[in-house]
Point group: C2
Chain length 144, copies 2
DNA sequence: TCTTGAAGCTATAGCTACTAGAGACCTTAG
DNA sequence: CTAAGGTCTCTAGTAGCTATAGCTTCAAGA
């Protein structure tokens, strides 16, 4: 049996986050010790690792909730989980495109900065005037 | 003179967002009409466009606040602006590395999903068990 | 056995960067 | 003059945590 601290350590999740996941119903309420402290078994560790891993993959908690409900009912089709993963892949691809454009823009700004005064600073100038943009980075969604 | 709606349209920023920026001190309090409505001039438009542009490049509002205060004093060195931009570039680069690993992982998951039941669905399995990961995507910070 | 310090508990508030809603008021086109 | 739509303030909500306060419990050393 693991205390919440050990569980967090094992799964790589901070203690308040575990309590938060319990609060929003992602993790079931665990058994308690005689002194009211949470005690976790292997299944909680697996579930938490699942959640953490999905978070790392960029899944929002709602999608994770769906995935967990799928795995809680193993007779269901995997198509639903596949749909979720594909949706995430689309999001991730879009973010990469977006960030790559931002990177180019930032690099351009920085290399052109002559280290003089603010009056002729490229960083400020580029930010002030959209016409300086090498690419139109207004088109692919929010910057995050 | 522009009303808040026209200003938002001109800068590509939603009206509540403008009021929010004013509230947190990013935009100065504008003059008001006889009927208490905000009226903006060119300088507000410039400033708002700057903010929006910096947001699009992923700068957090705190960094934008710093950049704005720098641009208010054009005789200073622009080294500080350079530092802010470089920090942002580092963040963006890290996110790209991270998201690229996630993309590979999701693609692998999807191709391996046999479209059967959840019991043999790799999507669930891969997310449950870190050892299935093609790359270690644990190393480069939070998923956002 | 006692004690001390870490770890746990609940509850509440705060964070970023907005967004949405309620209900009243102002402005402008027809 | 009226009606529609823009604007006003204020509050609360969003995601996904993180931090704080003030308390209790647990494990290890003296």
């Amino acid at each position: 049996m693991l205390t919440i601290g050990k569980l967090g350590e094992a799964a790589g999740v901070k203690v308040p986050t575990i309590r938060y996941y319990e609060q929003i119903g992602l993790l079931p309420e665990p058994d308690r010790s005689a002194g009211n402290q949470r005690l976790y078994g292997q299944s909680a560790l697996d579930r938490l690792a699942f959640i953490r891993h999905a978070r790392e993959l960029g899944f929002p908690l709602d999608a994770i909730r769906d995935l967990l409900s799928l795995s809680d009912e193993p007779d269901q089709s995997c198509a639903a989980a596949d749909v979720i993963a594909k949706k995430q892949l689309t999001t991730v691809k879009a973010r990469i495109v977006r960030l790559t454009a931002l990177k180019a823009e930032l690099e351009r700004m920085i290399t052109q900065c002559a280290q003089g005064t603010v009056a002729d600073c490229r960083v400020i100038e580029v930010l002030s005037d959209h016409s300086h943009c090498a690419q139109d980075h207004r088109t692919s969604g929010a910057a995050e």
